[in-house]
Amino acid sequence: MDKKDLELVRGVIKTNRRLDVIFAAAGFLALMIGVLAFITLFAQMIATGWERLNPEFFTSFPSRRAANAGILSAWVGSLSVMTVTAISAIPVGIAAGVYLEEYAPRNLLTDLIEINVSNLAGVPSIVYGLLALGVFVYAFGFGQSILSAGLTLGLLILPVVIVSTREALRAIPVHIREGAYGVGATRWQVVRDHLVPYSTPGIMTGVIIGMSRAIGETAPIITIGALTFIAFLPPTPITGEAPYINFDWLWSGFTVMPIQMFNWTSRPEEAFQQNAAAAGFILVFMTLMMNAVAIWLRYRLRKSISW
């Protein structure tokens, strides 16, 4: 190779390296847009709301006086609604996902269902609210209750749970299935003893993504009739006398964190903006904690799986 060719090759390498650097920079910039925007918002919320973040803020009901107002009914409401959402959406979603992936015959009908499930994940949440208003609130007579709201959000995240369950099942190496069938296991045994346990980390991810979306939802909750001022808590689920468990809380009226925040931001008094910022910080914190628990669980569960 003479000197001229060598120059040429070096030139090409140089150009490519430069492109490499440019792309890395562009990628980094793209990443920073998201991260910095979030950090700025988060920092601003903390700066504005910091003063209000004291224990009373968590143990006080809403009030017309900004300094006395708190988020007790809002966070209890959010937590109760999320409990119903989790209990209703997770088993149904996983069962549907397992059925579609492992049991359902391949035909036009299942194809149609599959396409619809994927599309449902993109339906605007207010549509779920309208559906729930007709079905849960009026037709089933659940009223404007925690139960209605939890089921509504459960419907909302169902597609996400189904899709992630299927993705997780598909990621299991085929020899696990083959091996289990090979030693004579029935389909149910394969699902119960192998597929579901191995796919749990993946399913968990989907569930948490869904729950994180649900906790910040306002539109469907308002549609079904969440309250704005509520200064009492739902009845406690555990009572002192037999049968020790009480389900009256499901029928209680409620409010949730995003509604409380929205109400405060639209108040004329400046002091309520602090409350809104503080509540926003708590809401983000709740979402982050949910994600943290999911990551921890996933890590724990992955460790116990060995193929």
């Binding site: 017309r64 309250l227 509520i230 639209s266 004329p268």
Partner: protein, 329 residues
Amino acid sequence: MRSMNKTIIASACFALLATAAHAQSMVKVDGSSTVFPVTEAVAEDFQKSTKGAVKVTVGISGTGGGFKKFCRGEIDVANASRPILKKEMDDCAKAGIKYYEMPVAFDALTVVVNPKSKITQLTVAQLKAMWEPGAQGKVATWNQIDPSFGDGKLKLFGPGSDSGTFDYFTEAVNGKSKASRGDYTASEDDNVLVQGVSRDVNALGYFGYAYYVENKNKLKAVAVVNSKGKAVLPSEQSVIDGSYNPLARPIFIYVNEKSLERAEIRQFVEFYMKNGAKLASEVKYVPLPAKAYTSNLEHVAKKKIGTVFGGEAEVGVTIEELIAREAKL
């Protein structure tokens, strides 16, 4: 796996154990976001005064949304920033729901400009020239309203078309509810409007009195020339004596007659009328004269049910006129 079985069993238990909620001492209120701060204040203090024996809930689903629930019998009290309309009266009549109409406070729409602006007073005709649908794309500078206003670019701020404030302002100024030019900065969040006007010398906006009172250092209220030809600034005094017109309006609660038979609703309404004036001014609304509150309670005693408006939106009615009128369903 065992945990999943548990979840399934738990879900089944929900279905079995779920029985209808026990009817507790509960007062259910829903409706307008404009009336909300007043009712919220009343609810807060009332619940405290009963030591939590009576529970009060207040929702925000808009005046129209509130009446829908009210005429289905889902709530006991409806918050309304305008009188009940013909269609809603029919709905209530169909469901056999009778009601008392009770004005509870004034909401004074305030026209504001930037503190640096030279504008101090405007006539309704001038406001109309700015806001009427025909002004869209045509009226763009202040000197088109009056040559003495200078050639600054007219920047308008106002609430969005879903708001009761918008309905009333357009009715009072343009003569027809919801008739407005569309090329202005609209926001459902009045704080956005406050920010907008406070940052632009040539801006003009309108919103509820409370937002002006809280932001007096950033805004200047414009005196509006009333029907007697006098320019009047909005204030508690001018709203109560009726000289600030036509931009002041009463706001209402509607109480289901059946619900009033329950002791807790009666107590709540009595508490509302006794403390309404004090609490309304505390949340920066203009309270009604004392006799308006007592006359509301007299209506209940004399069983004067129905509305005094006959299903029509009206502009510039004074509270004395309202009290004097005969109610009908």
